[in-house]
């Protein structure tokens, strides 16, 4: 799972870099990403151009940030179905607080973060205290937040979309952090791509190189055993739910400051896409196995397919069918890769 062992054993045939690579959970996603890229690059005009790349990178980035956070949670053995609606919830919070009540934009952003983390902690607390499956608990939070996004927002501002966001004082300050673009080799890259890369690197570091990462694998793989050897199960799981909620806040801000508006239905239906990306990236639905880089690659595949289909001139509604096939295919490949990993010792 990590770097080469301290001292090699003479009974171990030297495993080449290829064999070692094949043991990684994200290998399937890496190959799939290359295939998808080559396919659209060769069959369409615009896909591999700088303009084309900036479009699918941007789509991948916001999905990717969420997928990476969700993959950590899934390795920890839980689901968060409220992750999608959280992106809308935080965006709407900032929107309503600033445009309707005139709160300072930085304060509003902070309030949204605190609210998101509180919802995440509540999710985790309910899962751990009630023993209910996180699928059910977060399905509940999902619907509650969806209701709030629609009903409460409509009650306060009388409509279901935030308007006049760009007239808010100091709007351009957070906009630089969350909504700006820059140019690389003729491609306009949205700052969310940087966030995506940073989040993926941090998540991978935590997962593979820190005690917290060890605990995430452990609580997802065998919760009872982890508790017996002194892993803080409760704290680890709460932290994971807060991480997905925090990622929801980050993506909420990225979307808000890119488009300077947010609708009440933002993020609804995205939660399963995050899970699909994580699974495509090698996460087991049952927990205890997976990779953050894999989830980022899963999101990259999603972004490329998402943009590649219209570039190819097909009806973009085919995306969903492709996603379904991808999910099933990924699960089969993951199964195979994992069996190889367990036997290749």
């Amino acid at each position: 799972m990590a770097t080469a062992t301290a001292q090699p054993d003479e009974r171990l045939a030297t495993t080449g870099p290829v064999a070692r690579l094949l043991k990684r959970p994200e290998i399937g996603a890496l190959i799939a990403a290359l295939v998808v890229f080559l396919f659209f690059a060769l069959t369409t005009e615009t896909f591999a151009t700088p303009a084309g790349a900036s479009t699918w990178l941007q789509t991948s980035s916001t999905i990717g940030i969420m997928a990476v956070a969700v993959s950590l949670l899934m390795i920890g053995g839980e689901f968060d179905l409220s992750a999608g609606v959280m992106t809308g919830f935080t965006g709407l919070t900032v929107g309503v607080l600033t445009t309707h009540w005139g709160l300072n934009i930085w304060v509003a952003i902070l309030v949204a973060l605190v609210l998101a983390l509180a919802v995440g902690a509540l999710n985790g607390f309910m899962v751990m205290r009630t023993g209910l499956p996180s699928f059910i608990v977060t399905l509940g939070t999902f619907f509650v937040l969806q209701g709030i996004d629609l009903a409460l927002v409509k009650l306060i501002i009388g409509q279901v979309a935030i308007q006049g966001m760009s007239n808010v004082p100091f709007y351009d300050q957070p906009q630089k952090i969350f909504g700006s673009t820059f140019s690389v080799g003729g491609a306009t890259i949205h700052v969310s791509v940087i966030w995506w890369i940073v989040v993926t690197i941090i998540a991978s570091w935590i997962l593979m190189r820190t005690r917290a990462g060890n605990w995430i694998f452990a609580v997802g793989g065998a919760q009872g055993a982890s508790r017996q050897v002194g892993v803080p199960v409760f704290r680890t799981k709460i932290g994971l739910f807060m991480t997905t909620a925090g990622a929801g806040w980050l993506v909420g801000m990225l979307v808000l400051f890119r488009t300077s508006t947010v609708q009440s239905n933002t993020g609804i239906g995205q939660e399963f896409i995050y899970i699909i990306c994580a699974v495509v990236g090698g996460c087991l639905l049952t927990g205890g196995y997976g990779s953050a880089i894999g989830a980022a690659l899963g999101a990259l595949i999603y972004g490329m397919v998402n943009q590649g289909i219209p570039y190819s001139g097909w009806d973009s509604n085919w995306l969903k069918a492709v996603l379904g096939v991808m999910l099933l295919g990924a699960c089969l490949i993951n199964n195979w890769v994992r069996k190889r990993a367990e036997n290749a010792r």
């Binding site: 799972m1 001292q7 060890n214 793989g221 065998a222 055993a225 050897v229 892993v231």
Partner: protein, 311 residues
């Protein structure tokens, strides 16, 4: 449940083991009742450094209750428990662990999909670096795992393989080696041979002997007198929640041990099992069959005090 709330796993004492024979745990009339149910009563024994105390009993005899008290999972409600001569009442497994009393449960507390070295240090991972760069000391973790396992006589090809790919006996030994490394002075083994075949059981018994040689006190829970007798120095027999006494090896033969433990039906099965393990024609098996009748008559002598039995 008692969730660990500390940032750091409490470091355990790694002092040199006391000379063999020094009592580490002494229990006197230890008992536990849940409401009006007497799960255990009247257990008196000692766990000495460098000795193996075997706890024998059939299913429901109170073995689990006894080890749960020693391990800190349950508090005792009768009698006294002295650790290093000081009366103790454990409120959590962590409290027992801090005194160097480690328990290896039947499920071994391992995470099957994680590599051996990650499992070995799970919950007490060494780190290096500070602040955001604080990270696992992976080299040290792998090196130590390999070293500690080979010290216990377990020669793994690759500590990077998922622990789920090891055999039952090997996993058991990793769990034992882990407890020893983290400063255990007393090792409580909950039926370590229960799910294992004859050969694997032998491997585990070898490691129990090894742990004893290293000066650890071992509490070996089993329902198989044939596993207990070769490695045990002292035998505590439990039946229906009551102690039938603690006997040093010098006062007990394997036959007596078996007779005290088993009921009539078990005896039948036992002689059957023996003739299968050792071959029906072997001298020992023949002898055993002959002994069964003798033992059955010995059974009638009251080894079990009259009075309280739990319903």
């Amino acid at each position: 449940m008692n969730h660990a709330s500390k940032d750091e796993p409490t470091s355990v004492s790694t002092t040199e083991p006391p000379p063999p024979g020094t009592p580490i745990i002494e229990v006197q009339d230890l008992g536990k009742h849940y409401g009006n149910i007497n799960a255990l009563s009247g257990v008196s024994t000692t766990v000495n450094a460098g000795e193996v105390t075997c706890v024998l009993g059939d299913n429901g005899a109170g073995k689990s209750t006894f080890i749960k008290i020693l391990a800190g999972a349950h508090e005792h409600s009768e009698g006294t428990m002295l650790v290093d001569g000081i009366a103790r009442q454990f409120s959590s497994p962590r409290a027992a662990l801090n005194l160097g009393i480690a328990t290896v449960y039947q499920d071994l507390a391992v995470v099957p999909l994680m590599p051996v070295w990650r499992n070995f240090f799970l919950g007490s991972e060494p780190t290096k670096g500070v602040g955001p760069l604080r990270r696992l000391d992976i080299d040290r973790m792998k090196r130590t795992t390999k070293q500690e396992l080979s010290d216990m006589g377990i020669d793994l090809r690759d500590v990077d393989q998922p622990i789920g790919t090891l055999s039952g006996g090997e996993r058991q030994c990793v769990a034992i080696a882990r407890a020893v490394y983290f400063g255990a002075r007393v090792l409580i083994l909950d039926e370590p041979t229960a799910a294992l075949g004859v050969k694997q059981s032998g491997v585990v018994l070898k490691y129990i002997a090894k742990a004893r040689e290293r000066g650890l006190g071992v509490v070996f829970i089993t329902h198989n007198p044939h596993h207990a007798y070769p490695v045990g120095d002292r035998f505590v027999l439990l039946r229906r929640g009551r102690s039938m006494g603690a006997f040093p090896k010098s006062e007990m033969t394997l036959d007596e041990l078996t007779a005290m433990m088993a009921g009539g039906a078990e005896l039948e099965a036992l002689s059957h099992e023996l003739s299968r393990d050792l071959g029906a024609d072997s001298a020992i098996a023949q002898q055993m069959v002959a002994d069964v009748a003798e033992i059955e008559s010995a059974m009638d002598t009251p080894a079990e005090p009259e009075g309280r039995t739990r319903g």
